[in-house]
């Protein structure tokens, strides 16, 4: 029996290795591609700065919109934030999804760091996040005028990502 005990570390490693093997074929930054070209999932949630204002997927229609998932606990969101402010100043419509966050902290953040969002949807328990296939923050979705998800970017948006990846899509959608 005590000899079998010595195999425990090996067993644990084998189990972990199976997970790693599985993990290699899963891309953590990849979302279920099924959502691309699908309409925005249904939701009805309040906003960060006005808890009485309830928004739904219908509010996202009409204009090409960036849906940016952020949170105050997210390091990379801080990195990304100034660039979003810059984009908003250029007239890009950005709607925030405040993901699994504390609303008061989020309000403070928007007050202190500037608010690039038209409004930020409060997704306190991450439900909308699950429907969207959010892995973590920041993530940004491009929605067309009909509220259909056209693109998803995982990670920080910087100048390079914007000009090379997202802007061409946004421009094409605006034209179309």
């Amino acid at each position: 029996m005590s000899r079998l005990k010595l195999f425990i570390p090996l067993m644990i490693f084998v189990v972990l290795a199976v997970f790693f093997w599985r993990g290699l074929s899963l891309d953590p930054t990849d979302m279920p591609s099924a959502l691309i070209d699908r309409p925005m999932p249904a939701f009805s949630l309040p906003t960060v700065n006005d808890a009485t204002r309830v928004v739904s997927e219908g509010d996202l229609k009409g204009e090409v919109t960036l849906l940016n998932v952020w949170a105050t606990w997210c390091i990379s969101c801080r990195v990304e934030h100034p660039y979003l402010v810059e984009l908003a100043a250029q007239g890009v419509k950005i709607v925030g999804v405040n993901y699994k966050d504390d609303v008061q902290e989020a309000q403070k953040w928007l007050k202190n760091l500037h608010n690039p969002y038209v409004y930020s949807i409060v997704d306190a328990d991450g439900r909308l996040g699950i429907d969207l296939g959010v892995f973590g923050a920041p993530e940004t979705y491009v929605l067309d005028r009909q509220g259909v998800i056209r693109y998803k970017h995982v990670g920080v948006i910087d100048d390079k990502v914007w000009t090379e990846e997202i802007k061409p899509i946004v421009d094409a959608l605006k034209k179309g």
């Binding site: 010595l6 930054t29 892995f135 990670g155």
Partner: protein, 666 residues
């Protein structure tokens, strides 16, 4: 041609590694001394060729040879020279070559500094290190060749090193970390050699100890450097984020810390043998696991290298061979190294074992938290991220327990201790630390903090119990100072390292409790008051750096009307890629840091400015430096440099069998 020479040298190094991993081991198996003796020369040759290969890559970087794909990705002609060198390890391929270089360096050191070891042991150890080198050389050559060319269409200029990495702290952070990670390969090789030969005596532990300690010193300093860098470079005053990559470096550290102590027990008392072996395997396995997590893209992290599934498959295969193989060997052969001596509940052995278990449990919970997103994803539980609350919840109480036990472990005797003697000596430090913990929070901060009271009590308990231990040790000596200087270097190292732990503990907890920051709008000419200091936003200037444009704020800090410092926080925009970077302006002090970072420009020349008051933050890194210094002193202890004859070896065994305390540290 230089990159091709580098490539060629690496292929030769790979071939030598293959020979190294077979011939000396076969010699040890068959008792052929000539074959065993090849280990040393093969190690020298392997190191020489890896060094040539690495030098070729550095040279190509300095020459701005952008026809090499890796250099085109990592460097830029405008990059300052020191960053051109550090850009060599700024990306996946080059950092892996650095890994190989350091591995070859450790192998070389074992070959050079093993004169007193039996030849068959040297041969086995070098062969195991050769096997690891085979794996890593193959990894570089087959999946991540830094010498690949972009021909015939070489770009005119490179796309620049990630600006986050263009920083003095980051020039030495990766090499230090790798020295630590790879350093654990030595004790790993010792463990495999012990399992292969079935021989694990106190001489074995004495050989392994300095190698383990020095690797641990590098890892400690490497982690501290990374944390310090994150603090001043990322611009929001945090110093630890429980990011997967940070955890990947912290896991081997925790297990390595356990290993150092377990090795001490194995050397002095001949117990915990199979536990020591297991920890040695774990420490290096976790280093490899870190490499896998960072480079395969299975987890998302701020540090992650460009992910490539092919590389992931390679490392996973390598991991399976190294970890799976060594754990199988362990399961089969561990019974042959059974410990014989016994000890009682109140003994240093059991206290060290308890701390060992706590450290491993801490490592286990961090490992689980780090891997949980991956496990949940693989089981289709959805995509989940695990954040700081989880880690803090488990880690803090575990470390508090470690701190409590640490103070006792130093003072308690080997084998068995008398509870009343222990109490006689410990009651003073216990009372004093409780009083300090209760009173000091009254003078810090506005509200009384019970967590601060606990942290101060624990921190002062560690320091006071160490001081008590010195008095206990010198209780029968005349002339305190003279007697103290005569104590062995390794004992002083132990004291310093443990006091370092206290400093880090105090710094980390008090900083977390008492930090304060404000985000404000400030226009040039504006003054404001924060935490007893007055900040004057004098002006904003634009400057041009070698490869960026910066807005630099000039902020004067006053206390009681007297100028304390002028801070220069910057916001930089790098030419290539247009990345924005924040350089914080920091006034560092022993008790507190004043930390100012520029946010973003607002209207009319005003800026969003973030002002942090960071008390005790330096203690975190001061503690790490003390830990490193302590480890260094322990390694320099002369008993590791003495020629150990058979006579002395048996004397050590005799010493450890008696109940008196050996006069050296553990």
């Amino acid at each position: 041609m230089v990159p091709e020479y580098g490539h060629y040298a690496l292929i030769l190094a790979f071939c030598l590694a293959v020979v190294l991993s077979v011939v000396p081991l076969w010699g040890a198996h068959t008792g052929n001394r000539n074959m065993m003796a090849t280990g040393r020369s093969l190690s020298v040759g392997m190191f020489a060729f890896v060094a040539i290969s690495f030098a070729c890559l550095v040279y190509s970087f300095l020459q701005d040879d952008f026809s090499v794909a890796y250099i085109a990705n990592q460097s830029n002609s405008l990059l300052p020279v020191q960053y051109k060198v550090s850009a060599v390890w700024g990306g996946h391929e080059g950092s892996l070559l650095l890994w190989v270089l350091i591995l070859a360096g450790w192998t070389l050191s074992v070959a050079l500094f093993s004169k007193q070891m039996p030849l068959d042991m040297v041969a086995r150890v070098l062969s195991v290190m050769g096997m690891i080198a085979v794996g890593f050389c193959a990894f570089v050559l087959f999946t991540s060749n830094p010498f690949d060319r972009l021909l015939p269409n070489a770009p005119a200029d490179g796309s620049d090193l990630n600006p986050l990495l263009q920083d003095p702290g980051l020039i030495i952070h990766p090499p230090m970390l790798y020295m630590g990670y790879v350093g654990f390969s030595v004790v790993f090789a010792f463990a495999i050699a012990a399992l292969l030969s079935g021989r694990l005596d106190s001489a074995w532990s004495r050989w392994s100890r300095p190698w383990t300690t020095i690797a641990w010193v590098f890892l400690t300093l490497g982690i501290a450097l990374g944390s310090w860098w994150a603090y001043y470079e990322l611009g929001w005053g945090g110093w630890w984020f429980w990011d997967p990559v940070e955890n990947a470096s912290f896991l081997p550290w925790l297990v390595g810390t356990a290993l150092i102590h377990s090795l001490a027990v194995t050397e002095k008392r001949g117990v915990f043998k199979s536990w020591t072996l297991l920890l040695a395997i774990f420490a290096f396995s976790l280093s490899l696991l870190g490499t896998f997590l960072v480079r395969s893209g299975v987890l998302t992290s701020v540090h992650a290298f460009a992910a490539d599934p092919e590389r992931g498959v390679f490392i996973l295969g390598f991991l399976a061979v190294v970890v799976g193989g060594s754990l199988t060997l362990y399961a089969l052969k561990a019974p042959s190294v059974k410990s014989a001596a016994s000890f009682e509940w109140i003994s240093r052995e059991s206290f060290l074992l308890a701390n060992n278990v706590l450290l491993v449990v801490a490592a286990g919970t961090i490992l689980l938290g780090t891997l949980y997103p991956l496990i949940a994803d693989a089981l289709n539980w959805g995509k989940i991220s695990v954040g700081p609350p989880y880690f803090n919840f488990f880690f803090t109480p575990l470390m508090a327990l470690v701190a409590v036990l640490m103070g006792v472990a130093a003072l308690v005797n080997w084998k068995r201790s008398n509870l009343s003697t222990l109490w006689k000596w410990l009651k003073t430090p216990i009372a004093m630390s409780l009083i300090l913990g209760g009173i000091l929070p009254l003078f810090i901060g506005e509200e009384y903090s019970f967590s601060a009271a606990l942290a101060i009590a624990l921190g002062s308990w560690i320091i006071l119990s160490m001081v008590t231990d010195v008095f206990y040790r010198l209780r029968n000596s005349k002339g305190f100072v003279k007697a103290f200087t005569k104590l062995p270097l390794s004992y002083k190292g132990m004291l310093i390292a443990h006091i370092g732990v206290a400093f880090t503990l105090l710094g980390a907890s008090l900083n977390t409790i008492y930090s304060d920051h404000r985000d404000l709008r400030m226009a040039p000419g504006e003054r404001l008051e924060q935490g007893g200091y007055e900040y004057l936003f004098k002006e904003l200037v634009e400057l041009r750096g070698p490869n960026y444009l910066a807005s630099r704020g000039i902020i004067e800090v006053y206390q009681d009307g007297k100028q304390v410092d002028v801070l220069h926080p910057e916001k930089r925009r790098y030419f290539s890629g247009g990345n924005l970077m924040t350089e914080a302006g920091i006034n560092a002090g022993f008790w507190r840091d004043l930390y100012v970072a520029l946010g973003e420009p607002l209207d009319n020349g005003a800026w969003a400015v973030r002002i942090h008051y960071k008390p005790f933050v330096r203690w975190i890194w001061l503690g790490a430096i003390l830990m490193g210094l302590g480890g260094l002193l322990a390694v320099l202890d002369k008993r590791y440099r003495q020629k150990v004859t058979q006579k002395r070896a048996s004397k050590v065994a005799l010493e450890s069998a008696s109940t008196t305390r050996a006069p050296s540290a553990s």
